[in-house]
């Protein structure tokens, strides 16, 4: 009855197997559906705008798209989505009591965490990419600037979205493995810290993620009012470095905590 046993499982191979399981469980969740509906709002808005164009709109369709990506996606929705999914990365498995299945298999906790995080990234990108692309198409195709205008920006915007989701996701995953109830601290961080401090004068924005994330969207029209006066913009290289570093450090810390923590899962 003995079956030949596989050797010690390499981290990456095991992470891929965890990913394959997690992605099938994460994508079809109601949470994904509601997030997709939220993300599709700019598409609906764009369609309505094309059907009923206002007479005195001071922006071109492409400029409007730039604003939507910068303010709606990168500034607000994606960090919120990262909070919803990232903080629940392990706690969902604890709440559903399925974490035991992973913890009692020959896979390291590092593999479990990497697999879960990959599933998170693929899930949120699967929800984000079509909505951003459709927003671009709806708002810029057929306008005087024509289809294909700013297509390079579209690719850069998608990369900016991916980096935003990576960094915030990693940070909130860290919050999720550190705290029992990470949602409230996460919301406070997003709306108090990120919401206000990024617009303070001086060096205060240096300590927010959103200031770096918004610096990646370079083609949006100028903001007006006080926000524009105080808004600080960083170079693309610097922004990518800071966001990437915060993401990687958060992931390392989250994995370290997850590897050492006990999870008491009872019936």
């Amino acid at each position: 009855m003995e079956t030949e046993r596989p050797a010690t499982r390499p981290t990456w191979a095991a992470a891929q197997d965890v990913f394959a399981i997690s992605i099938e469980r994460m994508l079809p969740r109601p949470r994904s559906f509601w997030v997709f509906l939220l993300m599709a709002m700019p598409v609906v808005f764009g369609i309505l705008l094309r059907i009923y164009p206002p007479r005195d709109l001071p922006l071109t369709g492409f400029e409007l798209y730039g604003m939507v990506v910068a303010l709606f996606f990168v500034r607000n929705l994606l960090p919120l989505v990262a909070l919803l999914f990232g903080s629940a990365l392990i706690s969902d498995a604890v709440d559903s009591k399925t974490l035991t299945y992973f913890l009692t298999r020959p896979v390291s906790r590092l593999s479990i965490f990497i697999g879960e995080f990959m599933a998170y990234l693929v899930t949120v990108m699967t929800l984000t990419v079509p909505c951003v692309v459709l927003t671009y198409i709806v708002l810029s195709v057929g306008t005087p600037q024509g289809a294909g205008f700013g297509a390079t920006h579209l690719v850069q915007d998608l990369a900016a979205c991916a980096l935003t989701l990576f960094t915030y996701g990693a940070l909130f995953a860290l919050l999720g493995v550190s705290l029992k109830k990470p949602l409230i601290p996460g919301l406070l961080f997003l709306f108090v810290w990120e919401g206000f401090v990024a617009n303070f004068p001086g060096d205060a924005p240096n300590y927010t993620l959103t200031a770096y994330a918004r610096s990646l969207i370079r083609h949006r029209p100028a903001e007006e009012g006080l926000a524009e006066l105080f808004s600080k913009f960083f170079g693309v290289g610097e922004s990518v470095f800071v966001l990437g570093s915060v993401g990687v450090i958060s992931l390392v810390l989250a994995t370290w905590i997850f590897s050492r923590r006990e999870y008491v899962i009872s019936s």
């Binding site: 079956t3 046993r5 399981i21 035991t100 299945y101 009692t104 298999r105």
Partner: protein, 306 residues
């Protein structure tokens, strides 16, 4: 004896609550029962044994390595936990295959092993259905299938027969016995003595977080037989079943619950009762049987005071 599971003065607290207290034992090949009333510390012991928790004091070794933080040992360890948790959107086959993939088996081998295990627990007809739609007994069996699909040397089963019908109880009991005969180490946690008797005489008695002894099952049984036990039955034809059961010796009382339609029997010597229920299961559509055994607590209290 090759000790595969070794507890050495292991204790475990949850905050100020002591779940296990200075527990030492060794398990080699064969089937062992872990018997104790609800809240005795059975699940905590199994969680320590299966590396889900680390001991607060002492050590727990599994196949020669510390149970906590040694994922490699799980190539050779299977766990059927007491939680009713499954990947609800997966079919039975997908569920077992997915977990086998974590053991590093390729797809073809996973499928072969999964089907074998699913056949063993008699779920082949339902293996393409989503587990979210399974009955309680089926969920229990698919959990069991995933725990033994990779043919582990050590198997931890936490209340494995919960919610199963009499035929499947028998089937799974026979399976546990067979696994023990094959030289595997099987630790079965239960608060139901009768379940254990069918598979082993070796039993670890646990009460208030302490392993009292590797007890003699016969002795425990004699004690228990002085206390009537409560058995709950769910059947398609409860009235017909009640008519058949009512004349049995050692039946203390038999009632039908209005709210649930369940039959609740108080029995003294359960052997004849269980055998009779098994014979009648098909005719009267016995779907589930629970032995509630509230009296185990009093028997253990008696044992502790002895």
């Amino acid at each position: 004896m090759t000790a595969r599971v070794v507890f050495e003065k292991a204790s475990r607290w949850y905050g100020p609550v002591m779940a296990l207290n200075d527990v030492s034992f060794e398990l080699g090949p064969g089937v062992y029962g872990l018997l104790g009333p609800n809240g005795a510390g059975k699940s905590s012991l199994l969680k320590l044994a299966s590396g889900q928790l680390r001991p607060s004091q002492g050590s727990v070794r599994l196949l020669g390595r510390p149970a906590f933080g040694s994922p490699d040992v799980f190539h050779s360890v299977g766990l059927c936990s007491d939680t009713d948790a499954l990947f609800e959107d997966f079919t039975g086959l997908q569920f077992v295959m997915a977990l086998l993939s974590l053991n590093g088996f390729d797809r073809a081998t996973s499928e072969k092993l999964a089907i074998e295990a699913i056949e063993t627990v008699d779920l082949k007809d339902a293996m393409h259905r989503k587990v979210g739609g399974y009955s309680k007994g089926m969920r229990q069996r698919i959990k069991l299938a995933q725990s033994l699909a990779h043919k582990p040397e050590v198997l931890f089963l936490d209340e494995p027969l919960t919610g199963m019908d009499p035929q499947n109880r028998k089937r799974i009991s026979d399976l546990m016995k067979r696994l023990g005969d094959e030289g595997r180490t099987v630790l079965v946690s239960t608060h139901i003595l009768h379940e254990l008797e069918q598979v082993t005489q070796r039993v670890l008695l646990i009460h208030n977080g302490r392993v009292l002894a590797e007890g003699n099952l016969r002795e425990i049984r004699d004690l228990l037989d002085r206390h009537p036990r409560s058995v709950r039955l769910q059947a398609r034809d409860p009235r017909g079943l009640a008519r058949e059961l009512v004349g049995l010796p050692d039946l203390v009382s038999l009632n039908m619950e209005d709210a649930t339609g369940h039959l609740v029997a108080e029995i003294r010597k359960p052997d004849a009762f269980f055998s009779r229920v098994q014979e009648l299961a098909a005719v009267h559509g016995v779907q589930e049987m629970w032995v509630t055994d509230e009296n185990l607590e009093s028997v253990f209290s008696y044992l502790v005071s002895k």
